[in-house]
């Protein structure tokens, strides 16, 4: 059988697609489980890392790792403590709202630098969709009162005047976002492991013979 070099990539893409289909529940469906959220976050962490790596190289910002600062914007710092359950993910919603807006800003800026259909625009659009997907899940989990008519979304941060500054800021946001998603994914994974361990311990404990 002939082996196509692109096959592994295609398989990964298909797998991710199926994962998203499972992780993002349809409109009006049942609320997502913690596992679904966890799977989506894990996938988004990988995607955010890929987007950052591509952006950094594509924009010529890999020199001296200009974007990789350790001072993310406050809204991208994430929860200090490990979320204990679905309820604890409530704080993530605000972050995702801001992130969706930031991605739109970055995309708008990149449209001035790239021809329509450029790879960076495609990737930004894809990540934006995933952020919107996670937001939808969180909206199902934590319904909020519908916004009043005429109310605008929070304004995006003041646009820096210079192109390079904007590129750099976009890059820093993507770096912080990838760090946040990686951290979140890791925390959820660890929590899941602990939960499994506790369940197993509990089952073993219940099976132990009682001493009379």
């Amino acid at each position: 059988m002939r082996h196509d070099g692109r096959l592994p990539g295609v398989l990964v893409a298909v797998t991710k697609g199926l994962l998203i289909l499972w992780a993002v529940p349809g409109q009006g469906g049942r609320p997502p489980t913690l596992q679904q959220i966890q799977a989506l976050v894990r996938h988004m962490a990988e995607d955010a890392q890929e987007l950052f790596t591509f952006y950094e190289k594509n924009q010529g910002l890999a020199i001296n790792h200009l974007c990789r600062n350790n001072h993310p914007p406050e809204w991208l710092r994430g929860p200090e403590t490990v979320p204990r359950g679905l309820q604890e993910l409530r704080g993530l919603r605000g972050t995702m709202v801001r992130m969706a807006q930031a991605l739109q800003d970055i995309t708008r800026h990149q449209r001035d630098l790239n021809p329509p259909g450029a790879e960076i625009l495609r990737r930004l659009a894809s990540t934006h969709l995933k952020v919107r997907g996670l937001l939808n899940n969180l909206d199902v989990l934590y319904p909020t009162p519908s916004p009043r008519p005429g109310r605008q979304p929070p304004p995006s941060p003041a646009a820096p005047a210079k192109v390079f500054q904007k590129k750099l800021e976009g890059c820093q946001i993507l770096w912080s976002f990838s760090r946040l998603m990686a951290k979140l994914s890791s925390q959820l994974e660890g929590k899941n492991r602990r939960a499994r361990r506790d369940r197993q311990r509990g089952r073993r404990g219940s099976r132990l013979p009682r001493r009379s």
Binding site: D112, L113, V163
Partner: protein
């Protein structure tokens, strides 16, 4: 008052100067005021200066030399002469200099000197007036200039990086990397890129790095790289309804500037001096539409602009001259069998339109019909074929001030109505005699002249006797048939065939079947000789002898001669035709086609000639099978009687080739041609040019030899390669065997008989001879006869007794020498009486042999085995050829008497025999003198 006085002084001075030439040349008006400022947005130095008021008042024409100096550059970067005529307003003078380097990068100084045109002397230079570069004292990091500039591909750009105080520039480069001239001194870095090439990205990042490591030691900037927009091409405006005007233009090449920097199009109406309220949209072409209201004359300018440039295009037009009508719609038609009237509608915009109809014919031809100017909403298309599909479409344009055609209407396919079939069917027949009559197979087809003019629904076949008025018989076939078979008797018949459509019948096609004479040959034409014809790439060429009584000729043939039915085909030719190239898509190479040529007069056809041929002859598929072989020791006769030469062959068999070769070597038989095989082995080739001659005898073969042979038939297409041979072994030649048997058997038999009858033979031929010692005659001593002394015979037996006629002969007789020669050799194991004279001695003997007449006697008692040979010379020769075996085989008898006469001894055979053979001459053979068996 004071000013007036000054003016008077100046005028007086000039007046004086004009009168005294040397004084004029020395008048100067130095720069009294100089101010330099910078416009960083435009990167310009703004220079303002002035000369004395007197110069203004005098309205002098003056020249100013302006020099620009850049800090850190040793030479003056710019020198320019500025000519101006001063006026009395006294306003300071201005000059603007566009800097090619960012003004922030370094300080720039300007100085000026002046000269009145009437004077030859320049004033002193003014002092340098300096504008400083960027003040970097408060900078948080290195600064790069220019930043965010738009640079046109192929132009030059100069960049600089200014480090902070106390810092040196360590790195200053571009990403993506572009070849640049880099010059850095301690605090300022300069980067010059000449002829900036196109890059994958539109934004080029510039990095500058001081020698420290902290975050603030890095500076970043960038510039956009692209092209100015192209001038809008093919800019024109038109309207479909005289209200909405649409202007279109082509977009031009890529500017490589995107988003907000991509080309922006704006339209402006010059007469109304208003921007056109439309938004351009571009895909393949750009277009913009808006409502012009009642305006009829427009002057539209389209402007395309991006940060690198601006281009415009203009179109001035009268709206009524730019009518591009809406495509006609709602087409419908009325038609007859030869005419279509097509109607349509179009949008009424208050001006007259003119329309065109395009008609697509079934053969692919396209006709264009113009509609009437009076009524452009229909057109009549005439001269059409009945029951034929035509496709029509319409477009319109302004009848007056034509601008362009509208889009085509939807195409409409229309079929004309049916009409009576025109022309006649082409019909033919094949007649087969049967018991009591004939079977006639009738064929019909549509000729190019025949037009069905509708859907043919049936064919009507009618036949009737010619001679009497019997009722015609008739039969009808649906349109799927193109042949039928009818049975008729031997009378003459008249057959007619007609095609019928929904309207009517076609004219009948007539065929007369003549009265049968009863002979089979009449129908088959077997008495006619069949001629062979040759094919070409374009078909099979047939010719016939023209006979001027016929009004047409018909050639018929079968497309598939080996099948039944064979798909009979026919072709008609005019009376003046006597040859034709017959081609059919069914013709295949290697198939024999039989053609019959008929002459037709008054619908009655007669067979004239028969032809047969191939489109292309191929080599025979099968080789002749040699069924019988007659073999002798030196010839072989091959038979292949059953090999067919008929139509089953893929070509006319022209003859045969017989190939022969010995198995192990090349062939060179007498009377053959040489044929070299691909492996370079050589065969003998015999050609038989009569295909009916199916036997051949190959002669001159060697006996007892293995041969390979093959028989190949050849046609006009050649012959197939030799693949298989047949092998034969020629037998041993029995005559030689018989000879050998004779040579061995007969002497053996004789020898056996002799041995058996030895005693008798001895008695008969060589009786016991009494001992001479006992003879009284020979027992004397010193016996003399005349002068001759008679030999005294000892007790030993004499070997030879010679009686010579001459006394001299006795002296030189070889035998005496032979007996006494010391060169005699004796062979061990043999009787001591054997002598072997050496060959040289024999030559001596021969040469010295005197021509005398000795008498020789042979005692055949000692050579019995040779007695069978009547010719003693022959024996001698035989002996000579088998010299080494002489003593063993042929001289078994131990005694040989040869008493030769002179004649015999002188013959060559004798001489030869003497050379080779040994003779033992016995002195006891006296009594045998003159006797010979």
């Amino acid at each position: 008052m004071m000013n007036l006085f000054t003016v008077l002084v100046v005028l007086l001075t000039l007046r004086t100067c004009s009168n005294t030439y040397p004084q004029q040349e020395s008048i100067v008006f130095p720069v009294t005021y100089l101010n330099v400022s910078k416009d960083l947005a435009l990167q310009q130095l703004l220079v303002e200066w002035d000369v004395g008021k007197a110069a203004h008042d005098a309205e002098l024409a003056m020249s100013f030399e302006i020099q620009v100096h850049r800090t850190g550059v040793k030479t003056t970067v710019w020198t320019e002469f500025h000519n101006v005529t001063l006026d009395k307003s006294g306003k300071p003078l201005n000059w603007i200099w566009d800097s090619d380097f960012p003004l922030e990068c370094m300080s720039h100084s300007v100085r000026i000197r002046s000269k009145a045109d009437a004077s030859k002397i320049w004033s002193q230079w003014s002092r340098w007036e300096t504008v400083l570069g960027l003040d970097t004292s408060n900078n948080s990091g290195p600064q790069i200039f220019p930043n965010e500039k738009f640079v046109e591909e192929g132009s030059d750009i100069n960049l600089c990086c200014i480090g902070r105080k106390g810092q040196t520039i360590k790195g200053f480069f571009l990403d993506p990397a572009i070849h640049a001239f880099n010059h850095t001194n301690s605090q300022v870095g300069l980067l010059t890129v000449k002829n900036v090439p196109h890059q994958e990205v539109s934004y080029i990042t510039v990095y500058c790095e001081e020698s420290c490591k902290e975050k603030q030691c890095y500076g970043h900037a960038g510039f956009f790289l692209g092209k100015p927009p192209d001038t809008p091409n093919d800019f024109s405006c038109q309207t479909q309804d005289m209200r909405i005007v649409t202007c279109t233009w082509s977009q031009g090449g890529d500017t490589y500037l995107y988003g907000r920097h991509s080309p922006n199009y704006t339209l402006f109406e010059e007469f109304s001096q208003k921007p056109v309220p439309c938004t351009a949209s571009c895909s393949e072409q750009c277009s913009c539409s808006w409502d012009i209201g009642q305006q009829r004359i427009c002057n539209i300018t389209v402007t395309v602009e991006n940060p690198l440039g601006k281009k415009t295009a203009t179109d001035v037009f009268n709206v009524t001259h730019r009518i591009y009508p809406v495509a006609p719609f709602q087409l419908w038609e009325e038609c007859t069998d030869t005419e279509i009237t097509l109607y349509w509608k179009y949008q009424n915009i208050g001006i007259k339109l003119f329309c065109q109809t395009e008609v697509l014919h079934p053969d692919g031809n396209v006709e264009v019909h113009n509609s009437s100017a009076m009524d452009p909403q229909y057109v009549t298309l005439g001269g059409l074929q009945p029951y034929t599909e035509y496709t029509a479409r319409v477009h319109c344009g302004a009848a007056k001030h034509f601008w362009r055609w509208s889009e085509w209407s939807e195409a409409r396919t229309i079929r004309t109505k049916e009409a009576t079939p025109s022309g006649k069917l082409d019909i033919w027949r094949e007649i087969t005699p049967v018991l009591g009559g004939r079977n006639v197979t009738l064929f019909w087809k549509e000729t190019p002249n025949f037009q069905g003019n509708g859907k043919i629904i049936s064919y009507e076949v009618t036949w009737e006797k010619v001679e009497d008025d019997s009722k015609p018989e008739s039969i009808s076939f649906t349109s799927v048939y193109n042949s039928t078979r009818i049975s008729i008797d031997d009378h003459s018949y008249r057959i007619s065939i007609m095609a019928k459509n929904n309207v009517n019948y076609s004219l009948p096609s007539i065929l007369i079947i003549p009265r049968a004479t009863g002979t089979k040959e009449e129908l088959s034409g077997s008495e006619l000789k069949e001629e062979q014809v040759t094919g070409t790439d374009d078909g099979i060429f047939i010719s016939w002898e023209p006979r001027y009584i016929y009004d047409s000729y018909i050639v018929d043939w079968c497309n598939f001669p080996m099948l039944q039915p064979c798909d009979l085909q026919w072709k008609r030719f005019g009376p003046n035709t006597s040859s034709a190239l017959i081609y059919s898509a069914a013709f295949a190479p290697g198939v024999r086609y039989n053609f019959r040529i008929y002459g037709s007069v008054a619908d009655k056809a007669s067979l004239l000639e028969k032809k047969t041929g191939y489109l292309k002859e191929l080599p025979p598929l099968l080789d002749p099978v040699v069924e019988n072989i007659e073999l002798t020791s030196n010839a072989v006769t091959l038979y292949w009687d059953s090999y067919p030469t008929n139509e089953s062959q893929p070509g006319f068999v022209r003859g045969y080739h017989v190939y022969v070769s010995p198995l192990q070597e090349d062939c060179s038989l007498k009377g053959s041609e040489k044929h070299v095989l691909p492996d370079n082995s050589v065969l003998c080739k015999y050609t038989i040019e009569n295909p009916e001659e199916k036997r051949y005898t190959v002669k001159h073969l060697l006996s007892n030899t293995k041969y390979q042979l093959v028989v190949k038939a050849f046609t006009g297409g050649g012959e197939t390669p030799i693949v298989n041979f047949r092998y034969i072994d020629t037998p041993f030649n029995s005559n030689i065997l018989y000879l050998l048997v004779l040579l061995v058997t007969v002497p053996s038999l004789v020898a056996a008989i002799c041995r058996w009858k030895m005693k008798w033979v001895q008695e008969c031929c060589c009786p016991v001879i009494p001992s001479p010692s006992k003879s009284k005659v020979l027992s004397f001593k010193g016996f003399k006869i005349g002068s001759e002394r008679v030999l005294k015979i000892s007790s030993s037996n004499p070997d030879i007794l010679a009686v010579d006629s001459k006394a001299e002969a006795q002296k030189s007789h070889p035998w005496s020498q032979l007996s006494s020669t010391p060169q005699e050799e004796k062979i061990d194991g043999h009787d001591s009486s054997w002598t072997y004279p050496k060959e040289n001695k024999e030559r001596e003997f021969t040469s010295t042999y005197a021509p005398q007449t000795p008498i020789c006697f042979e005692n055949f008692a000692y050579s019995s085995h040779l007695a069978v040979e009547s010719n003693p010379y022959q024996i001698s020769e035989t002996l000579e050829t088998s010299k080494p075996e002489l003593p063993v085989v042929l001289y078994q008898p131990h005694h040989y008497f040869n008493i030769c006469n002179e004649d015999a001894a002188s013959t060559p055979q004798e001489t030869t025999g003497r050379k080779a053979s040994l003779r033992y001459i016995s002195r006891t053979a006296v009594h045998c003198i003159g006797r010979r068996l």
